[in-house]
């Protein structure tokens, strides 16, 4: 092989190694600290103390649940940017024209976040974001990571996030209010016996129609609303076959409104042997209320009304 090729190869290798070496020298500065001790300190779901010197004025929200909480706490003016999943809320709220759409969280780089000059970034505590979160913190950006999975943890998140954005009082009030509404439902439904609970089939819009199993939040909502999920013998989400639905014979069907299936489609597919079809008890629910966000209480209340109209109006 020609000497020139070897030489060229060495040049490239030297270039790369040299750049790395130079950078390593600069890397050995201190990493930026997590923020000075300040007036607000909250433990996020990583167990890490997020310390802020004051209520944040420039929040970046990377999750629709968090955006919803912040908006509900009347702090929408403090949000400077949000991720793609939050945009449905941003676009449907007035006075939010200046919020930048950051698209998907996995495509973001730290520099993009830095350019927004935020004083708080709120993000889902997913394993696959861990590098991103670490990188942001090394650049001196305060990050709070939460992972609400069910009704209980969403209330905790509202509490913590509320305190973090300086709205501790409002948040606590909101949580109490939500707890009250939940209790109002629970006190009537907690003692309903198995036989008096309507059998419920819940269908989400994804993958052409998935249902929920034990351990999911939607399953919990059904139980709390006084129903019983016909598929609570399964776990997580899957697409249920028409046969299995017919066999279980639900009394009530709750379908995500965004689904392309119309109620008539459902009826035609399942047939009139199914109680929900013959009784015309098919209800459409707003999918955004079935997420781990404050509006989950709405979902609970709606379901309670549908399952037990006599107990709730």
């Amino acid at each position: 092989m020609s000497k020139k090729a070897i030489a060229a190869m060495l040049v490239v290798a030297v270039l790369v190694v040299a750049s790395a070496a130079v950078a390593m020298i600069y890397l050995n500065k201190d990493n930026a600290s997590d923020g000075t001790t300040g007036t607000i300190s909250v433990l996020d779901d990583r167990g890490k103390a997020v310390n802020l010197t004051g209520a944040p004025e420039r929040i970046v929200s990377l999750g629709s649940a968090f955006t919803e909480i912040i908006f509900d706490l009347d702090a929408k003016d403090k949000v400077v940017a949000a991720d793609k999943s939050s945009m449905w809320l941003v676009e449907n709220t007035t006075g939010t024209e200046n919020i930048t759409n950051l698209q998907g969280v996995s495509t973001l780089s730290v520099e993009s976040i830095l350019a927004l000059d935020p004083d708080l970034v709120v993000i889902w505590n997913f394993g696959m974001y861990s590098t991103f979160i670490t990188n942001m913190e090394s650049s001196g950006i305060p990050v709070a990571a939460f992972y609400p999975k069910n009704v209980t943890t969403i209330l905790e998140t509202i509490d913590k996030l509320g305190e973090l954005i300086g709205e501790k009082t409002k948040a606590q009030a909101m949580v109490s209010d939500m707890n009250a509404r939940i209790d109002a439902v629970l006190e009537k439904t907690a003692n309903i016996s198995e036989s008096e609970r309507p059998k419920v089939y819940l269908e989400l819009a994804s993958y052409g129609g998935t249902t929920v199993g034990n351990g999911t939040m939607s399953n919990d909502l059904i139980e709390m609303a006084g129903g019983v999920n016909i598929f609570n013998n399964g776990t997580k989400n899957w697409v249920a076959s028409t046969e299995s639905i017919v066999e279980k014979n639900p009394d009530i069907i709750v379908i995500e409104d965004a689904s392309t299936k119309s109620n008539d489609d459902l009826k035609a597919n399942l047939g009139s042997t199914v109680a929900a079809v013959s009784g015309d008890k098919i209800y459409r629910i707003d999918g955004t209320t079935l997420t781990t966000s404050p509006s989950v209480v709405e979902a609970l209340e709606n379901m309670a009304k549908w399952f037990h109209p006599t107990l709730f109006q």
């Binding site: 092989m1 020609s2 000497k3 070897i6």
Partner: protein, 267 residues
């Protein structure tokens, strides 16, 4: 310098493609391996240059068993010119001939003065110097063939193998190539082995002929001894005879007819 082949056999599936091949050759010999399609000629060639591993038999080059040689060592003793080379990438003729020096170059070694001289000589001998910077896909069939021969010569082999060298060439190119090869055999003291089914070629240019049928040698020796009317009838199913043509100072073949017309109709 000599080449000795003993008991060479090769098997593809359950039966031998070639069996028990014997061959003796010395420098200056132009040996024709002659036979119809399917007689095992190309298989024999591939066993000689170790593209295929025979199941039995030896190939000795100057009393060295070729099996004991490394691939590279074998390539410095034996060069192969395949049937038709389909080089469609724009490598130049020089690029191709230079590849003939690969067997002798070590991993990081560049071509030396001596290597370049050998390449120059090979190209001069084959009259391909003027194509040196022309891409192969722009050359004619005959010109390409000469470049490949130059590559084989650049290996400085003792044995040159050619597989149907005239198959796709125009008649004038055919004569050109064969004149070149036979002259080289003489001048460079090579052993040349040509696999062919072209009777006229074999008769005119070969000093020895090996007649093959169904993987076995039917006859071996001088042209007049091997290419008898009898043998040609048996192997090629034709009525033909070899005669000496004064005008070319070599043997030629006159082919009368196919013997298939002698067969009964209901075959």
């Amino acid at each position: 310098m000599k080449l000795s082949v003993h008991g060479l056999s090769f098997r593809y599936g359950s039966s031998d493609a070639i069996s028990n091949i014997e061959l003796e050759a010395s420098e200056g010999d132009v040996i024709g391996i002659l036979g119809p399609n399917g007689s095992g000629k190309t298989t024999l060639l591939k066993c000689l240059n170790r593209s295929l591993t025979p199941r039995a038999g030896t190939v000795m080059i100057d009393d060295v068993d070729s099996q004991t040689l490394t691939r590279k060592e074998l390539a410095t003793r034996m060069g192969t010119v395949p049937q038709s080379v389909n080089i469609t990438f724009p490598f130049t003729a020089l690029d191709i001939v230079m590849m003939g020096r690969l067997p002798e170059l070590k991993r990081f070694e560049s071509e030396s003065r001596r290597d370049m001289d050998i390449v120059k000589e090979a190209m001069a001998m084959t009259n391909t110097v003027q194509f040196a910077d022309r891409p192969m896909d722009q050359l004619s069939g005959g010109e390409r063939q000469r470049v490949i021969i130059a590559r084989a010569l650049a290996q400085k082999p003792k044995v040159l193998l050619l597989d149907e060298p005239t198959l796709h060439l125009d008649v004038n190119h055919q004569l050109e190539i064969l004149d070149l090869i036979t002259a080289l055999a003489r001048k460079e003291r090579l052993i040349v082995i040509i696999v062919t089914h072209d009777l006229a070629l074999a008769a005119r240019y070969c000093t020895k002929v090996l007649l093959m049928q169904n993987g076995c040698i039917q006859a071996a020796g001088e042209v007049t001894d091997v290419m008898t009317t009898e043998n040609l009838r048996k192997v090629f199913l034709i009525e033909a005879s070899v005669y000496f043509d004064e005008r070319i100072g070599a043997y030629s073949v006159s082919i009368l007819r196919s013997t298939r017309s002698d067969e009964p109709e209901d075959r």
